[in-house]
Symmetry: C2
Subunit: 344 residues, 2 copies
């Protein structure tokens, strides 16, 4: 079968790899219908050292179950399914707490014997705990939005949950990438009265406004902080969604949080310390977040996608067939595209 393999920074290839197949009795074999390129895929695209073996890519996909192992009970051949970006057993202590990213028997796609999502098929371990059956056909118009439940929409939602977004509150979203835009959707869905989007790309800002952003701040650093304070009577935002992960964006997120407020960080942190620890202490600002337990959020978000109440699939502004995935990486890396959908 064909699949995406990265051999080093900037070097993404579509290659013939061994066919995905069932190995464990808890596996499902899924034929991929749609996949995506993730903002986090751009980190290795920028920095990966050359590898002779390459690295299988992709962790966001929807598809059709081809076959299941003998122990699988909740999905069957023919089911249209979505997978979160990590697989998990659904039964361990962390899964039961809704933190499937810490599943004691879970893992990542694209490592060891588990295929990546950017390919024709995937062996999905722990299928019962991992997959969610979708009540639509594999070619449904909702597929792009359903696909976002695997990662980007769940991630924006996670930032909003950790930042304690509540009805009537003021929310700031740092970053106008696909995650930030899904953060805007999540904040509006959770009832935020005011949503300040910090970003400077006209097309992304336009989409953010359609998603519910009420104010745009295009400045950066100290000027952005000043502008948010102007917009909030000097108080700051109750909830801040940090959707970038750089030190500057993290500092901005902390500085625009209102005293007693919370920052939900979902941007992959590029520094090993959180800045501004003394000022945030004196203002009682909380910071939390991390990889989103996308599996935990699927049941909550799925009805809204099916009803069309939220349309996170609009973050995909480019579609490519599998053979053109390398150009999809290039386009996202050069910010030609917000997020790239792969149609198989």
């Amino acid at each position: 079968m064909r699949a995406t393999v990265m051999y080093g920074a900037g070097d993404v290839r579509i290659e013939i790899v061994p066919d995905a197949r069932l190995i464990e009795p808890t596996d499902a074999l899924v034929t991929v219908a749609r996949a995506a390129i993730c903002g986090s895929d751009l980190w290795p695209y920028k920095t990966m050292e050359r590898s002779d073996n390459g690295r299988r890519m992709g962790h966001e996909f929807v598809g059709v179950v081809e076959a299941v192992g003998t122990d699988v009970q909740t999905v069957k051949a023919g089911d249209v399914v979505v997978s979160p970006f990590l697989w998990s057993d659904g039964t361990c202590v962390f899964c039961q707490e809704g933190l499937q990213t810490e599943c004691l028997h879970g893992g990542r796609y694209g490592s060891d014997d588990v295929d990546g999502g950017q390919g024709e098929a995937v062996r999905v371990p722990q299928a019962d705990g991992t997959l969610v059956v979708l009540p639509v056909g594999a070619d449904d118009a909702l597929m792009p939005s359903l696909l976002t439940l695997s990662d980007v929409m769940g991630t924006g939602h996670h930032a909003a949950v950790v930042a304690d977004v509540r009805p009537g509150k003021t929310v700031a979203v740092v970053g106008d990438g696909a995650v930030g835009l899904c953060g805007v959707i999540a904040a509006k869905r959770l009832g935020a009265e005011r949503i300040i989007l910090l970003g400077s790309h006209p097309d992304r800002i336009a989409l953010g406004t359609e998603f519910g952003a009420t104010d745009i701040v295009s400045e950066r650093g100290d000027e952005a902080v000043e502008r948010v304070h102007e917009l909030t009577h000097g108080l700051g935002a109750h909830s801040v969604l940090e959707c970038v992960g750089l030190e500057e964006s993290t500092l901005t997120a902390l500085q625009i949080a209102r005293p007693g407020g919370a920052v939900g960080r979902v941007g992959l942190p590029q520094e090993d310390s959180v800045p501004d620890a003394i000022a945030t202490f004196f203002r009682n600002v909380t910071i939390g977040g991390g990889p989103a337990p996308a599996r935990a959020y699927m049941e909550e978000l799925l009805p809204d996608v099916l009803e069309g109440t939220i349309e996170p699939g609009r973050v995909f502004d480019r579609s490519v067939p599998l053979d053109e995935v390398p150009d999809g990486y290039r386009a996202m890396n050069e910010r030609e595209a917000i997020k790239v959908l792969i149609e198989l």
Copy 2:
């Protein structure tokens, strides 16, 4: 009147200062019955640069209202009252949210025209918002415990609240000082099943055990982390109370938090960054906290003190008259005493 004045590191004096008096119509004049030396008073005691004017000290006190300004409605002469460590109006947006430490019209004791608590009397601004009337006499045996509501018990409780302590959960308390010990009380009061106290002073550990600590970890650094993981089946603690503020203790607190857990920090941070940002991100650990809104917690904690359900006053293991306050500072600084009560 007599009051405590600090002139530099290690230089604390009892001096005659101008009598406390009413200035604003919202003031109360309070004769101090009991005051305390705070762990945070030890920071200037260790580091303050020499000052010709000196600095009035103290922010924890209970006493008797002597007189009130014309606008004061909720307290009257003769009332026995406790003050939180900051004064606040009780009506601003932050006070209404229960974050009186951010009161838009509040402030600190011992600055400008406001007396410090370690003296014979105090002008209390915003008396209606600040003071809580106590239904006991000024010489009641409960006075030491009631005094802790002004700061140390509220601070331990704040750490527990921010760390999301809940019934049945495992809690770790980093630091066996007076705040850490009150954190143990707070954790037990909120229903924690297991309370691991990290500390190494035999007398403090003994008191912590009486307060409800179920396990003691006397190691530090990596060894402490390892020990807590042994005690928690490798998972860590759901809630961690950071009651020290040093970089090492903060790192320990973060590293012993269970994935998805929370750290409540109330130790004054000595570094301007929070360490271990990447590992805590991947484990979805939250960190929050800051100065405790002690005023907000008084109503909740007061009944338990009055009923004797909690006895935070036991953290006072030494009492001194006002004239011996300088020796009280020395004793706390040299760890001869956990916390010093001042009897006027």
